[in-house]
Amino acid sequence: MGGNSVKAKLRKRKIKAFVSQVLANKMALFGTVVLLFFILVAIFGPLLVPFSVLEFGEVEDMLNPPGPGHILGTDDMGRDVLGYLIAGSRISLLVGALATGISMVIGTVIGIVSGYSGKAVDNVLMRITDFFLVIPWLPLMMVLAAILGTSIWNIIVVIGVTSWAGTARVVRSQTLSVRENQFVERTVSIGAGSGHIMLHHILPNVFPLVFANTILIAAAAITSETTLSFLGLGDPAHASWGMMLHYAFETGATSTGAWWYFLPPGLCVVAVVLAFTLMGYAFDEILNPKLKER
């Protein structure tokens, strides 16, 4: 019990130090604020601006430019673009978060097992990792999504299982260096099993790296959802930024100059991806002391 409370205190101090460093870093702060804004919009927005994908407007409401009543105009079905945008933020962020979660778990498990086991297991796992690392991501996701069928869950799984290779590589190399530490040797000598060591001694030591990497994967996951939906692999039953862009392109909004239909969802994607990217770089700098020396 005593040991645990000391551990908890230490962890608290570490988290506090991390938060103050984030607040001091302009990039990290900007990214965090933008992301929090979108999360709040996704949670509370639909309460303020009710919207349904299935509620079409009248003919005279179709593809109207921004004006009174519809701040951001209407789409080709007479639906309010602002309402669509807010409803879409839910799915876009949810798909991004869940896909990132899957990717993080697979990448961390494969990286730790590969790095800790070494030899044949390492060799086999790394060849599989190479496969996912080198194979072009969009064609792979397109083929998988086309075969599994278009649903929100399939999209999440497809993005999750195709994007973990980078994490596995990073985690593996970190595991290799953690494994050489004396405390691991001591734990082995008092009879700890491999599973215990990987879970209680390796994982906490590679976690900061996983964290920074995860944020960069989240950026890629959001872009992937948008791109897959744009290419017609999205779930028509749900509103998402990618689906908006898909419909805008399909109905020729680009060539007719209906900018209000595709400019806002694109800007939202750019803002969220940029926020994640900035946070990722900043966290990497904070958590990876070597970079600071430069």
Partner: protein, 325 residues
Amino acid sequence: MNKKRIAKKLLYAAITIFFVLVFNYFLFRILPGDILSMLSRSGKTTPEMVANIREMYGLDLPWYQQFFVYLENLFTGDLGTSFIYKKPVAEVIGSRILPTVILLGVAEVLAIVVGIVFGIVSAWKRGKAIDTGLLSTSLLLYSMPTFWLGMMLILIFCVNLRLFPINGMVTPGRVFADTWAYINDVVRHMILPMACMALVMIGEYAITMRSTMIDVLSEDYITTAKAKGFSNGYVLRRHAMPNAMLPMITLIAINLGLIVGGAIQIETVFSWPGLGNLMYGALVNRDYPLLQGVFLLTTVTVILANFLSDILYEVVDPRVKSMGG
């Protein structure tokens, strides 16, 4: 050059390609229904066609023998028949390679040159206004979905400014006076998709070049060179750049996968008649043999390119040779 290391890399590349073949085979077998029912859904079929397909794919054989039939067909260049074009997949793909290679080739060269220059300037002027400007532009470009950038370029340059044609590779139905008029027309169609592809890549090249350059510039030998009294430009050209270029070789190879993804999006947005557009069409029409064929071609090409870049890296960087393993 170490023959053992190259043999090992070659083996790894071969294993990865084998994975792709196995993956490709099983992926398209778990589809609902077999090839025959998919074909009959896609249009008219005669009993002769059915018999032909049965024989071609070895559908009466056990599954493991079907796999060997698949491999045999593959190595003889037989990728099946496209549902929509009603022609051999290899033939359909062949006619689409050149437009993609031209588009990507020009865009890639442009992006590498501009990206490297941006990166070097950024690193050299680290912390100054020009660095901040270039870095934020690069990050912004890096964060944009490729297809959306394409849509924005069309909106600005085609719809509002009316500078370029919206889509395609040549003006349909136009009769050209001579070859120059034809080339001129193609170039006008190509400028926007090429610029779009290049812009997307510039961001990443610039960011990577900047960070390697910053690493290199903090090395002792740079300080030494400066202390010897060499000019800044000389140190940059002769001491810093050759070392900072090395990681770019790997990045360019790794990026090939991203470029393929970019080509699918850009060719779709601009209706450029290349492989990316072909794959999009195959996807929309669920033309599985065609989808499988394009997927196989792009994947194997990217794997081979990565293998070549590994070899190139080994030739260029003397340090790799002395390291074991």
